[in-house]
């Protein structure tokens, strides 16, 4: 299925529409699938992802919930254990903190605590990231926190193809999968082949091949990193760009293959620097490729500040192409 032959007939679509098509496809394929969350039905989804699905599938399967993140996430866990395949939409990662107990103490632990008797085949989707001037409580990037937790899988689709393809594969997983959709990507356009479908969720992807430095990133930062790579090319620096795609488990093999080739690495991660996913990746490079490296591993992360409201300060608080270019040049000794 994953290796389905791709027919011609390329269409342009947005990331939002790709996610919607993925949900629609899942609802059609499997009667056990239903979508549940705040404003997913009548409102059409906070980010308009589920617009139109209520009319098509009805209120049982496009289920509006009260503002009870812990309650409906836990209900998703129970429904998954009871034989359904729920997609729980938590409006944003910021509100997922109200469901963190259910995610960490139940979804991630039940298989283990029960000695492998019960699993939780649940998919939880949520929006993440800064960039819309929504200030300190609505701009978090906490996917790195979730990637800390054994028992769950964490995905970050950065492309239209992954937005379309990761959901179905995630729904086939016998364990909980969290999918983080960066808010700045919903309006992004991209192309999909007519029969676009499920994609692999285990491997990182090399989005740009290069030989001088590995830029390792995921999600919304991918596009800033690719922009930085274009700028670096103008200065004869040939950067390789890795899109992690899966934040847990991490695809060490793809990362190490790249840094073994380029011998230099910068990690780009919108999460706060201290204790970040970038720190984990950097340490893995130290553990597995230290003797191959020609320079210290660099990082471009979120600044250690709650995200401020004013646009210029918000932009300064998160990764951008200029910071990535500067970090790459520093790693190459080209200041």
């Amino acid at each position: 299925m994953l290796q389905a032959t791709r027919q011609s007939g390329i269409t342009e679509t947005t990331y939002r529409e790709a996610v919607r098509e993925a949900i629609r496809d899942a609802l059609k394929r499997d009667d056990r699938v239903f979508l549940m969350g705040e404003d997913v039905g009548r409102y059409g989804g906070c980010y308009a992802v589920s617009k139109g699905l209520l009319a098509e599938f009805g209120s049982e399967r496009i289920r509006d919930t009260p503002l009870s993140e812990s309650g409906f996430t836990g209900a998703g866990i129970g429904a998954a254990m009871g034989g359904m395949r729920p997609i729980v939409e938590v409006m944003t990662v910021n509100f997922s903190l109200l469901a963190l107990d259910q995610i960490l103490n139940s979804a991630a632990t039940i298989r283990h605590m029960s000695g492998n008797q019960f699993g939780v085949p649940l998919v939880i989707r949520m929006a993440t990231g800064a960039g819309r001037q929504l200030a300190a409580q609505h701009s978090h990037s906490l996917e790195g926190w979730y990637a800390h937790i054994p028992g769950i899988r964490v995905l970050a689709p950065a492309t239209v193809e992954d937005a379309r393809g990761m959901l179905w594969t995630a729904l086939q997983d016998p364990d909980p999968v969290l999918i983080f959709e960066n808010v700045m990507l919903y309006n992004m356009t991209g192309t999909l082949v007519a029969d676009a479908g499920p994609v692999d969720i285990a491997k990182a992807a090399v989005r740009r091949t290069g030989s001088d430095i590995s830029l390792i990133t995921y999600g919304g930062s991918l596009w800033k990193t690719l922009e930085a790579a274009t700028q670096l090319a103008a200065e004869n620096i040939n950067a390789e760009v890795i899109d992690l795609r899966s934040l847990r488990p991490l695809d060490d093999a793809t990362i190490m293959a790249s840094v073994n080739k380029t011998r230099r690495a910068v990690i780009v991660d919108e999460g706060w620097r201290s204790g970040s996913l970038a720190a984990e990746i950097g340490m893995r490079i130290v553990e597995q490729a230290f003797w191959e490296m020609d320079a210290p591993v660099g990082r471009v992360c979120g600044e250690e500040v709650p995200i401020p409201y004013p646009s210029h300060l918000e932009r300064a608080a998160i990764p951008n192409a200029a910071k990535i270019v500067a970090a790459a040049k520093a790693a190459l000794g080209r200041d």
């Binding site: 919930t65 009260p66 812990s70 998954a80 009871g82 605590m113 029960s114 000695g115 019960f118």
Partner: protein
Amino acid sequence: MSGTTDKPRLSRVHMLDLLRQMIRIRLFEDKCAELYTQEKIRGFLHLYDGEEAVAAGVISLLEKQDRVVATYREHGHALVRGVVMKSVMAEMYGKREGCSGGRGGSMHLFDNTTNFYGGNAIVGGGLPMAVGLALADRMRGEKHVTACFFGEGAVAEGEFHESLNLAALWGLPVLFVCENNLYAMGTALAISQSETDIHAKAACYKITSEAVDGMDIVAVEGAARRALHAIRETGKPYFLECRTYRFRAHSMFDAQLYRDKTEVEVWRKKGPIERLRTWLEANHMIHPEELERINAEIAAEIAEAVAFAEAGSWEPVEDLTRFVYAEAAS
């Protein structure tokens, strides 16, 4: 609401069975306390001493396909539900032969053959799961009931209110059973709740509710019978508050500074086993030798369970990281 099935069953055989269920829990846990002092059982051990009428009165009425969600004080619920005693004891030891493979311990008893969904040690954490299990049954057209047990401490958690609302809003077949033993660890109900009549809280979610003397198993069973009948008729949730008392400490680490010893003694006299036994004796429904036989049979079962746990095996350390994710079928 009261059909013929709601009438209490006072037959001698049935009453003896209820008594037996409660004694079985009590003696099993007495043995667990003893094994704890011998350091055979470690970690937290929360005993149900005094509350046996709730699990025995409710769970014995459930159908095989119904589901049970319990708390970290769940040994009694597991035993009444039919989780095999020796596998429960092996779990207490942390042995591989335990009902959760040894990975869970006292607080995390699980058993998929009896639809026993644990052993949740986060207060209130099981309620949303029960809602979800009932939602799955509703969406799949199954007529099962999910019985969800929790203490009165959980009533202060947001998940309690979220779950009652969801169950009522969506019309889900959940039997909420609040085991009100008056103390959330050491915090008395009166100093933690503005409204101490817990069953009244269900009314604001439009859930039918009743409070029952949780020390009287006949009353508990009668209420549970009414509740289950209503749920199976309507598909809607029902709320039972069972007013009970915990005779022992919250866990084995609790010095019980928060309550008077005389208070415990007063409640002990109202204990559910004592109460049913004296009633049966007063009505000449039990002979002393029958009680001896019940005790002896249970003692033998417990001895067998202990021997099974003792003889059980430790999971090899090489297996440490198993059961975090599903293993690919080989």
